[in-house]
Symmetry: C2
Subunit: 398 residues, 2 copies
């Protein structure tokens, strides 16, 4: 039934698609799946923290009790009881988040795509941190903005630099807690200053917060959402506090933005898995996360300290790194003449250790002497061994 | 901690977002959830067909056996064993579909968004059937094409009309089996002619096939994919043969298109739920669908016949309708002076019966005297009663 001699198609990609590249991180991950490699390249949470049995029991309960509802099409904005639960978690003294402001997502990455779709025109400006989350740069880049990199210091974004960059800007994208890729956090003063600056110039502020709950030592700082709910879009995720493979996140936005985002969501994938939302509601509704999250914090805090100690012991003078108070990653800055993109193949082939080069995290001029190290999926003795191998390689290049 | 007197944000939506409207169907569905309404407006499959217990057992098995893998991040292209299974299903004598050509999706609607993203530039042309699936028009419209409506007759698309419309066209979107919204199918001759025409002029042909397995009386006709695998993008779904609430679909495309679509998928939502894919693989791997699908066909064929009989018995001269060989819907054409958009509020308020007006399914000039009726979620006695009420209303307007 095949037709004869069809002419081969010349696939003409859209202009936006020509800008798309496969993620450098994902390509590297493919290599570093080999078991002999000690990989600090992953951004994956530790599977030791997954509450598998509790999730299994929740699927069992939901399907036994409400199987036909769970498996039917659902509303585009999401499963109402879960939206209510989220709104309750984000509300507090002086801050009332309504369930109607919550849009459920197939992972918080989807929120970045929808925000790009709804707010970004070709050539309009998107402000990002220097450096910023690679997945956000990719999601926004499809909508062909001009990226403006806002300068940062050890306390995060410098708000005073924003007004000069905000001409025709549609949003500022920030990751205030244990930022990916730097592990850095914004101070409270800096947050207030950022929220005030954005409010003053009418610039929508996106607060991406996948790691906020993973604070090692103290209560997380207040959400910027709570400082100005009318001007902040908040992105949350169950990936780092529950499990990522279910693909469940959410965003909180003021009307009328959330209504427009819901329309875009509908056109994109109709709605997020109904059964997944019901299962997560079943898992979290009775305060499970309050008991569960401290166990994740404890594991990650320990492994972070092991890596910080190993770095101090092995890395030479002239190399510096961040000291995160939470989250999953450390950012290392080498002497300026070392390009970590060139270092990576040597690290993998000669030393069997992997990391993520820092350059792809920059929207504009990259600092090529940087790298991101994740410590959460590597056991302590391998963290020590991997850091030693990396140090040997770096010393040889200095 | 709230900042004082923030100026309210003026949300500036992107040009593409201003084109987005909430789906007319979804807005109507909200009204027709009231239990006293007999609704032919849904596009939902019947929950009676959901294999709830089998799905429950599959989740149990997957989480017990491989919980930590199922709940971890997975590859952007999808769960390899399920991609292999799908490739096997679509391969046959003379047609070898490779697993590498299969991209797993969060519902086949997502395939439409990704195809728009990757192939459509503003002002380029997208060819669609007259009328066409509303969700496809919405997904593509975000990328701002010029839609060209290809004329149709009772056997589907008229391929001879295509070349004159194909200037700067990026794809032709077709739904050959039990089309949404008409219930109509393309004949074998028409399919061959369509595939040959598209191949001759180098136009990518999208074959959307959510209903293909739901053929009442005979084996489904050959897939257009099998006639020219190098020029056809095939969209498949588990929504109509298993359950929709899990949001799982897939596309099959030739290299290099599938690689570009995978990059777009990665930027959009990283990947589709790993656990959902493993569960569906667990459910289908041993031939379950071969036993299950005939039970869906039998139910739908019966209810379709009940509606066809009721239409013949009650609807007046001057009204015509399609007689589907499968799927979930019937398309009704009223006398030209009756606008079904105006009829709908009367139907709901006076007669407590609902349908979907046909106009939103047209990319260009709508035929306002059309309506879509779904019969799959309404029990036979209510189908008869609802058709009678609709007939009374139509007669009163004639």
């Amino acid at each position: 039934m095949r037709i004869e001699n069809p002419s081969p198609i010349h696939w003409q990609f859209s202009e936006r698609a020509r800008a798309l590249q496969s993620s450098a991180i994902r390509e590297i991950l493919k290599v570093t799946m080999r078991p002999e490699i000690i990989s600090f390249a992953g951004g994956l949470p530790s599977p030791e923290t997954f509450p598998v049995e509790r999730m299994r029991a929740a699927w069992d309960a939901v399907l036994t009790r409400e199987g036909k509802v769970a498996l039917q099409y659902g509303p585009s904005d999401g499963y109402a009881p879960l939206r209510e639960w989220i709104a309750g978690q984000l509300s507090g003294p002086g801050v009332a988040i309504l369930p109607e402001q919550v849009l459920m997502l197939s992972g918080s990455q989807q929120g970045l795509d929808l925000l790009g779709k709804v707010l970004v025109d070709e050539g309009s400006r998107v402000l990002v941190e220097t450096p910023s989350y690679l997945g956000a740069l990719q999601a926004f880049s499809v909508y062909r903005p001009e990226f403006a990199s806002v300068p940062t210091d050890e306390n995060g974004l410098l708000p005073s630099a924003i007004p000069a960059l905000a001409d025709n800007a549609r949003l500022l994208y920030s990751l205030p807690n244990f930022q990916n890729p730097t592990g850095r956090s914004m101070t409270l003063e800096r947050r207030v200053e950022l929220v005030e600056t954005c409010a003053r110039i009418g610039l929508p502020l996106v607060e991406d917060d996948p790691y906020g709950a993973l604070s090692y030592r103290k209560e997380p700082l207040p959400r910027m959402l709570s400082m100005n709910p009318g001007g902040v879009v908040y992105l949350g995720s169950f990936s780092k506090v529950l499990t990522p493979g279910i693909r469940l996140g959410y965003l909180v936005a003021p009307e009328p933005l959330v209504a427009k985002l819901e329309q875009a969501k509908q056109a994109t994938d109709l709605h997020t898995s109904q059964v997944t939302q019901m299962v997560v509601h079943e898992v979290v509704k009775d305060g499970f996360l309050e008991r569960h999250i401290p166990t994740i914090r404890e594991l990650y805090a320990h492994q972070c300290q092991v890596m910080l100690d190993a770095l101090a012991e092995n890395f030479p003078q002239g190399v510096s790194w961040t000291r995160p108070d939470g989250g999953m990653i450390i950012w290392v800055t080498l002497p300026e003449h070392i390009d970590t993109m060139e270092l990576l193949p040597l690290a993998v082939e000669q030393e069997q250790v992997a990391f993520v080069p820092g350059a792809p995290f920059y929207a504009n001029e990259p600092a090529r002497n940087t790298m991101r190290l994740s410590f959460v999926t590597v056991p302590p003795e391998k963290i020590r061994e991997g850091v030693k191998r990396l140090a040997d390689l770096i010393k040889a290049r200095m």
